[in-house]
Symmetry: D3
Subunit: 331 residues, 6 copies
Amino acid sequence: MNPNPITPTIPYDQDGKFHGFLRLPHSRNESAWGAVMIPITVVRNGDGPTALFTGANHGDEYEGPIALQALAHELEPEQIRGRVIIVPYMNYPAFRAAARVSPIDMVNLNRAFPGAPDGTATHKIANYFNDTLVPMADIVLDYHSGGKTLDFLPFACAHYLDSVSQQEACVAAVQAFNAPYTLMLREIDNVGMYDTAVEGQGKVFVTTELGGGGSATARSARIARRGALNVLIHAGILEGERDQERTVMLDMPDEDCYHFAVSEGLVEPLVDLGEPVEKGAVIARVWSADRTGLQPLCYYAQRSGILAARHFPGLIQTGDCLGVIATAMED
Amino acid sequence: MNPNPITPTIPYDQDGKFHGFLRLPHSRNESAWGAVMIPITVVRNGDGPTALFTGANHGDEYEGPIALQALAHELEPEQIRGRVIIVPYMNYPAFRAAARVSPIDMVNLNRAFPGAPDGTATHKIANYFNDTLVPMADIVLDYHSGGKTLDFLPFACAHYLDSVSQQEACVAAVQAFNAPYTLMLREIDNVGMYDTAVEGQGKVFVTTELGGGGSATARSARIARRGALNVLIHAGILEGERDQERTVMLDMPDEDCYHFAVSEGLVEPLVDLGEPVEKGAVIARVWSADRTGLQPLCYYAQRSGILAARHFPGLIQTGDCLGVIATAMED
Amino acid sequence: MNPNPITPTIPYDQDGKFHGFLRLPHSRNESAWGAVMIPITVVRNGDGPTALFTGANHGDEYEGPIALQALAHELEPEQIRGRVIIVPYMNYPAFRAAARVSPIDMVNLNRAFPGAPDGTATHKIANYFNDTLVPMADIVLDYHSGGKTLDFLPFACAHYLDSVSQQEACVAAVQAFNAPYTLMLREIDNVGMYDTAVEGQGKVFVTTELGGGGSATARSARIARRGALNVLIHAGILEGERDQERTVMLDMPDEDCYHFAVSEGLVEPLVDLGEPVEKGAVIARVWSADRTGLQPLCYYAQRSGILAARHFPGLIQTGDCLGVIATAMED
Amino acid sequence: MNPNPITPTIPYDQDGKFHGFLRLPHSRNESAWGAVMIPITVVRNGDGPTALFTGANHGDEYEGPIALQALAHELEPEQIRGRVIIVPYMNYPAFRAAARVSPIDMVNLNRAFPGAPDGTATHKIANYFNDTLVPMADIVLDYHSGGKTLDFLPFACAHYLDSVSQQEACVAAVQAFNAPYTLMLREIDNVGMYDTAVEGQGKVFVTTELGGGGSATARSARIARRGALNVLIHAGILEGERDQERTVMLDMPDEDCYHFAVSEGLVEPLVDLGEPVEKGAVIARVWSADRTGLQPLCYYAQRSGILAARHFPGLIQTGDCLGVIATAMED
Amino acid sequence: MNPNPITPTIPYDQDGKFHGFLRLPHSRNESAWGAVMIPITVVRNGDGPTALFTGANHGDEYEGPIALQALAHELEPEQIRGRVIIVPYMNYPAFRAAARVSPIDMVNLNRAFPGAPDGTATHKIANYFNDTLVPMADIVLDYHSGGKTLDFLPFACAHYLDSVSQQEACVAAVQAFNAPYTLMLREIDNVGMYDTAVEGQGKVFVTTELGGGGSATARSARIARRGALNVLIHAGILEGERDQERTVMLDMPDEDCYHFAVSEGLVEPLVDLGEPVEKGAVIARVWSADRTGLQPLCYYAQRSGILAARHFPGLIQTGDCLGVIATAMED
Amino acid sequence: MNPNPITPTIPYDQDGKFHGFLRLPHSRNESAWGAVMIPITVVRNGDGPTALFTGANHGDEYEGPIALQALAHELEPEQIRGRVIIVPYMNYPAFRAAARVSPIDMVNLNRAFPGAPDGTATHKIANYFNDTLVPMADIVLDYHSGGKTLDFLPFACAHYLDSVSQQEACVAAVQAFNAPYTLMLREIDNVGMYDTAVEGQGKVFVTTELGGGGSATARSARIARRGALNVLIHAGILEGERDQERTVMLDMPDEDCYHFAVSEGLVEPLVDLGEPVEKGAVIARVWSADRTGLQPLCYYAQRSGILAARHFPGLIQTGDCLGVIATAMED
C-alpha cells in the first residue's frame, strides 16, 4: 500500500513548543501543486504521557477549536511533563467552509475511519490520525457540538466498552473533563467513527457535545477550556488541581429517546434544552411552510426525561432528528 | 404607472375567516406562467379596527412565523371585533430559502420600501404592502429576530417619532406586547425600511427582535405568541385581559453601543446575552482560522451595560457586527 | 440618452443575402472586452415591404429557431421583393442556456420592452429591437412555444386592438400563417411585451404558441416552417401560393380558462391537449411527493372546452399554471 | 461486512395496508442526524405471491410514480392474496430533484447494482433492494420512461435470458402488462442494472419505457396504471380479468438501430415517434447554435423501421442519442 | 437624495499616516448587519496637492494593488508635502473574488460612474469616489491591466480631451509615470468610466494597462511601483528625481486595430506581444474544441503594426477580443 | 472484471488517416444515453513503430492541444512509416471546462492510473489508455504546461529509471524533442501518474512543461509543434532532419528547490522565470488582502539557481507552490 502523503512541518519528538501544519498535497483546479494545511501545535517536555486533542472533526462545531487555539497559545513546555498534540481544526477544509463535512469530497470525517492513504482528502486525514497520531497518544480528547443543525445540553461522554479497565479509564477521564452533564453511551452504529478507531487501539478516549447551532457561547467556550486543562491534569501531564463542579448524569437507554420528523415544515418547539418532559406531552408542533389554516403536526414525547438535544434550524425536513429525551440523575 | 400585479385569492371585507394567498405572477425558467404564492389569513367580524401582523420580513427569523401560523389557526371571527390580517411569511421566497433576503433578486425586503409595482419580486411585495395593506391597517406588528447571523435579547421596540401622539400610541402598543425587554430606538439610517413606511402613514407600529441564530426556542415562541394576543387586546380587537409581566427597559444611545469586527477569524465570546459588562473589558477574542500560535485579537467594550446582541456564527468576517451593548434599567 | 451599444456586422440596406451578428459589447469576468453575438440574416432585393422574423424570444422554445435557421439558409434574394430580417435566436444568451430568461440578468425579454440602451443585456436587446429593427419592419412574426414548463396546442394568435384596421391586418396575417389552431387574445397584462411594443408602432404582428416542453417535433417544426413562407407570401415579399389547411378557432374568453396549482406534488394528468372536457370534470390529480397513503388533490375544470395548454414537468409547484381550457369552433 | 443501514418503518409480514418509509440515515451539512426517507407501501393479505413494484429508479420519469401512488392509495388488502410492496420513488433524492441521478452522489441507481451497504447513498439503496426486497419478491415490475432527455413509444419489455423457463415467465408477464408496444431486448451492456440483479435472482421481471421528456400525459399514465393491475392479476395476487388491447411487437436487432449525434447544435426532427422511416432517409437536421448561413448536418436512417425513441431537448450535444429505429410487427 | 452610506474609519484632513477602511454597510444572508470594508491609507503632511491612487478597479488586475500596498507601507508623511490617498483594492469584493466585476451585483465598477448612493454595492462605491474622493484630488492615478482574459504591453495612457490645458497636464503626468509604452487614446464609448468621471471634474488623470492574465510579474510590478513614485514627484508631493527610461509611443488610430473572434475554439497564437506584424498576415488560428481533422479558422492582421494586446485564455468564445495591433514609434 | 466501455469510432490498424472519437458512454441528467466523445486521429502507413501523443491530460494546458490539432491536420500517411495515434484532448471533459481536473468526478487524470473500467469517467479514460493505447505504442509523448495556477520555463523531461537502457532511450527522445530547457527528474511521489504507467510498460516516454497560466504564446506553441516533429523523426516514423537548437540542462536535486506559501495574500514577485537568484534573496513578498499597513511576508530563496516555475495567480493560498528554483547548466 502507498504511504500516507501527509507530512508534518514540525517535529513530534523534540522538546519545546512548535506551531506548524500537517501538509496534505491536494492538486486541484485552484492550485496545481497545492496542499491542505492543517494547523497543529506540539508541546513537549521530556518523557511522559501523550495527549492528543482535536476540534472541528465536524467543521461547524466551535467549542473545540476555541479551547484548543487558546491551549496552543497558552500552554508552555515548562508547565508540562510529556507531550500534548493539539489539532484545533481536524477537518480543516470543513472548518474553513463552516460545514459539517468536507467541501472537497463531501465526506463526514467521523464516518471515514480508519481511512485510506489513497482515498479522497478526508480519508487521507482519517488515515493519518489512525495510523500516525493516535498510536502516539495515551489519551485522546475529541470535541464535538451539535453543529448548525443540532443543539445539545453540554456533556462529556464515555462509551460502554468490552474492556472493563479501558472503560473505567475512559469514565475517569470523562469525569475529569467535568462538563455540566455526563453521559454513558452505547453507540449502536459506530462504523467509521474516530471514537471507535481510538478505542480500538486501547486508548483512553473522551468525547463531548457542548452546544450547537454553529455558534459558541461564552459559557460553552469556558466549559471547553476548563475541560482541556482538567483532562491534562488528570493525565498527569499538567501540574495543578482540577476545577471540578457538580455534573448531572444522563442516560439514553433506548431508541425511544430519539424523535424524528416525518414531514417538513416550520418547527414550533414547546420544550427547551434541559427542561423536563412527561411521556405523551407535545414537545413540538410543525406548521405548514406553504399555507395557513392547516392543523400543525404534533410530536409527542415517547418517554419522560429532560430534553437533551434538539433540532436547531427553524425549518425541518422529513427524517431530521427533532429532539432527544434523556433520563437525568444528579451524580 | 402600472398597477401592482399582486392579487389576493381571498376577500378583505367579508366577515369570517379566510385562508388564501397573495398571488404574485413570476415568470421564470422553472415556471413560464408561475407565481409566488404568499400565504395570508384574514379574520373579520364587523366594523372595528384593523391589525396587520407580519412575520418573515427577513426569511430566516422564526418567532413571527410561528406566532402567526398559530394565530391564523386559532383565532376565530367570533372572538374579535374588526379585522386581523395575518401574513406569516411576508418575504415568502426568502422564508422558503431560509435566508434573510429573497433568492429571486437578493433584495432585503426591509430596505425595499416603498417598493415599486414594476420592480423585482421583492419590490413588488414591498409596494403591495405599502399601497394596499398598510393603508387598511390601524396597527401594524412586524416580527423580527436576529436571523442566522445575529442573536438578540428578546425585546419589542418603538421608534422616536416627530409626532408625539403617534409615538405615544406606538409606545403603548409596544408595552402591551410586553416582551422581556423593551427598547426605544432612534433609527439613524431608516431608508427603505417597512417601519419607516408604516410610521410615515401615521399608523401605530410595533416591531421586535426576539432571538436569533436561525432558530426559535420554546421560550421565544411563547413570547411571540403572547405578544400577538396582547397587542390585539390592546387594540380593542380581541376581548380579554393582557398577560403582562415585568419588562426591562433598554437604551442604545449612541454609536459606541455597536462593536464591529476588523478582521476575520474564529470568535471566542467572553460575555453572553444579558450579562453585564464594564467599559474596557474584553468581550471577545478572535483567533486565526489559518494557524495556531498567533495572538488573538481582543475586542474591548466601548461602554458599560449589558450585552443585547451578538454575532452568531462561529466564524466572523471583517465588518460583521460582533456585539451590541445596551444600557438597561428595570421599568 | 446614450445610444444603444448594439451594432450589426452586416448591412440592412444592401441587396443580397448577408449572414452576420448583432454585436452587443458585454464586459464580464469571462471576457474583459467580450460581446454577445446574436446571429442575424438579412435578405434583400430592391424596394418592397420588410418582414422581421424572430425566434427564441424565450430561449427554450425551438420551433421558431428551426424555422428561421432553415429560412435563413434557403431563402434567396432573387425569390423575394423587399427585405426579410431574420433573427432566429433573439435572446441569444437564453437560447444558449436552453432557458426561458437570460442567464446574464435573469430578465424575461418579453417583459423588458421598450428596453433601455443603458440597462442590463436583455434590456439592451429589447431596446435595439424597439428602436431600430421594428421601425424598419412592416410585418413582424415572433415565434413562441411553451418552453420547458408548458405545452400548447399549436396556434397562431392575434390580439384585440384599438385600431380596427390594424387588427384586421393582424388577423389576416395570422390566418395566412395557418397554424392548426388560431386564437384571438385580449392580453390582460401586456406590460413590457414585445407584442405590445410592435403593435404600438402600428405594425402587423403575428405571434404563435406551437408546442412546448423544451422540444420540437417533426410536426411542430413543419407548422413553423410553413407559416413563415405563408406569411412572406401574404406580405407580398415572396412569390407563390400559400399552403393552407383547415384551422380551428380558439377562444379564451375569461379568467376561468386558467387553472393554477395551489399545492406542490406529482401531477397525474387526466386530459391530454386537444381533448374535450366538461365543466366540473377532474382534469388532474396531484399526489404527495413525500409519502404514500395521502388523498390526491383533485383539480376540476372551471369551464367546458378543450385543453389548450398544460403544465409540462412531472412535478408541480404552488402557483404554477396547471392547464388552460379554451372553447373551440371550426373556422 | 457491515449491515445495510436502511430500516423500514412498517412491517413486511403483517396483514393489512401500511404506509411508511425506508429510512436511510444520511448525515450531511443540512442535517447532522438526518435521513433519506423513501416512501413505501405494503399491502398484505395472507399467504401468496409477492409483487415488488418500483418507480423513479431514474428520478425524472413519472409514469411509474403516478401509477404506484394511485395503486398504493387504492389497493386494499381484501382485494388481494399475498403481498404487494410498492415503492413509487425508488431513488427518492433523484425524484425530489427531478433528475435522472441522485443529487447526493451523482450515481445512476440503475448502474449501481448490486450496491454496497457502506457505499454512497445510492449504493445503499441498490443494496437494500438487492439483498432485502428482491429476495422477498416473486415478480418485479420496474417502471421507466425516457426522462428529460429521451422520449419513447410506450412499450413493456422482457430480456432474452439463459433460462428458457424464466424468459417465458417474463414474456408472459410483459404481455400481461399490455403496453401499446412490446419489446424483446438483448441488453449488451447490462452491468450494474436493477434488471440484471433481479433476473439474476431468478425472478419474473417486467420493465417499461412509457414516454419521456420529464412529463407524463393522461395517456401514458393510463397505460402505467392499467399495466400494474394487469400484472397483479397475471400474478394471481389480484382477482379479476385483465384489460387487454392489441400490442405491436418491436425489435431492435442490432447497433444500427441507434443513431448518435456527432456534433452539437439545434435539432430539427423530420420524423416523429411511431412514424415509419426508410433506410437512408434524413431523420433529423442539426443547425448551428452559433450563427446562420451554415449547412445543417443531416442524419440518415441506418435502417428501415419506425422511430421508437428520440432525443428530447431542442439542443443536442456530441454523443447524445438522436433516435432509435425499431422494426415493428403487429402481434 | 439619500446620502452615500459609505464612511471612512480614518480622517482625511489630519497630518500623519492612517490605515483604515471605507465602511460600506451591506446587509446580506451571511451577515445581517455586515459591511464591505475597503482598505484605505491616507498620508498627509500639511498643505499641498492631493493625489488619489487606486488599484483593483477591476478585481483581477494586480500591478496596482501591489504598487499601492507597497506605497501605503513605505511612504511616510515626512517625505511628502500635501496628501496621498491610497485605495489598493477599489472594488474590494471583486478583488477578493479574483474577478473583474463584483460578485455582489455583477457590476463592472468602471462602467458604473457616476454611481448612485442608493444603487447596488458597486454603484455606491462609484458614487463615493465620484462625490467625495475625486473632488478632494488634484491628480488621479488608476491602475489597470488585462485581467484574467487579456494581456497587454505595459503602457500608461492619456485621453484626448476637449480642454487643451487639461490634456497637456494629463500627458505630462503620463510621461512622468514612464511606462515602457505610452499611449494617447480616444475612448469611443466612455460611458460610465471612472476615467470620464475624473476628467469631467477637470482633474489630471493617468491610467495604465501593465500586463494581464490575472498575474503580475516581477517586471510589471516594478513598472507599477516606479510609476507611482514618478507621478508623486511630478505632482510636487514627493521630493526627489524621477527615474525615467525610454518609452515607446503607441497609437490605436481606428477600429481596424481591434480583432474579434467570430467562432469559439482553441487559440493558436502566431504573434506574441510586442512583435511586429504585417497587414494580411495570419495572427492566430482557432482550432475546433470538438474534433480533429477540421481546418482551423485563420485571423488576418487588419493593419500593420505591433501586437499590443491579446486574448489570454487558451480557449476563445465568439465575440472575444483576439488581439489589438497598434502602431508604434520611439518617443 | 468488466471490460472498459470505451470504444473507438475509427480503426487502429488500417492504413490511411482517420479522424474520430473515443466513445465513453456517460449516462447523466443532461443525457440519458449520452457519451463523452474524445477526439482522436490515427495516421498509419504500413508496419513500423507506433507513437502515442497526448495533450490536455490536464484540461487547462494548451501547448499540447495546439501542437496535436495541427499535427492531426497536417500529417499525411504518405509522410510516415508506422503509426501515429494523436489524442489532443485526453481528459476531454476537463479540456472543455478549461480546468485541470474533470468536472464530472473532480479527478486528476494524471493521478488516476492505472484506472479502472468500472470507476468514474476519469478512471475509465485512464484505464483505456493503460490497457489499450499504451500497449500499442513504442514511444509516448505527453504534453504538459503549468495550467492556470503555475508557469514554467519551457522544458522537456525524462525520469531517472531503474532500467538504464530504458532511461537512455527516454533521454534520447527528450533531447530529440529539444525544448529550450531539458530536465532530468526523480519523481518522489509518482503514484497514479500516466508517466509511471507508461514507463512501467517499458515504453519510451517524453513529457514536458512548456509554459502556463492557462494560456499559450506563439513561442510556446512553436516549441510544442517543433518537438512533435522532432520526436517523430527521432522515432523513425517521420522522414527528415530534426530542427535542433541549444537547450539548457536543468536539475532539481532536492526538496529545497520547492517554495510553498504559508499564508494567503497578494503576491509581489521579485524574480521572473529564468532569472538567476542567490540563496537567501527575497523572491516574493505576500501582502495582506484585507488591509493596508501590515508588513508583507517575505519568502527567501532556499538555494541559488534560476527560477524555473512560479505561482501564477495574483492571489495565493496557504500551501500553494510559490516558486521552484532549479540549477541550470548549458548542455
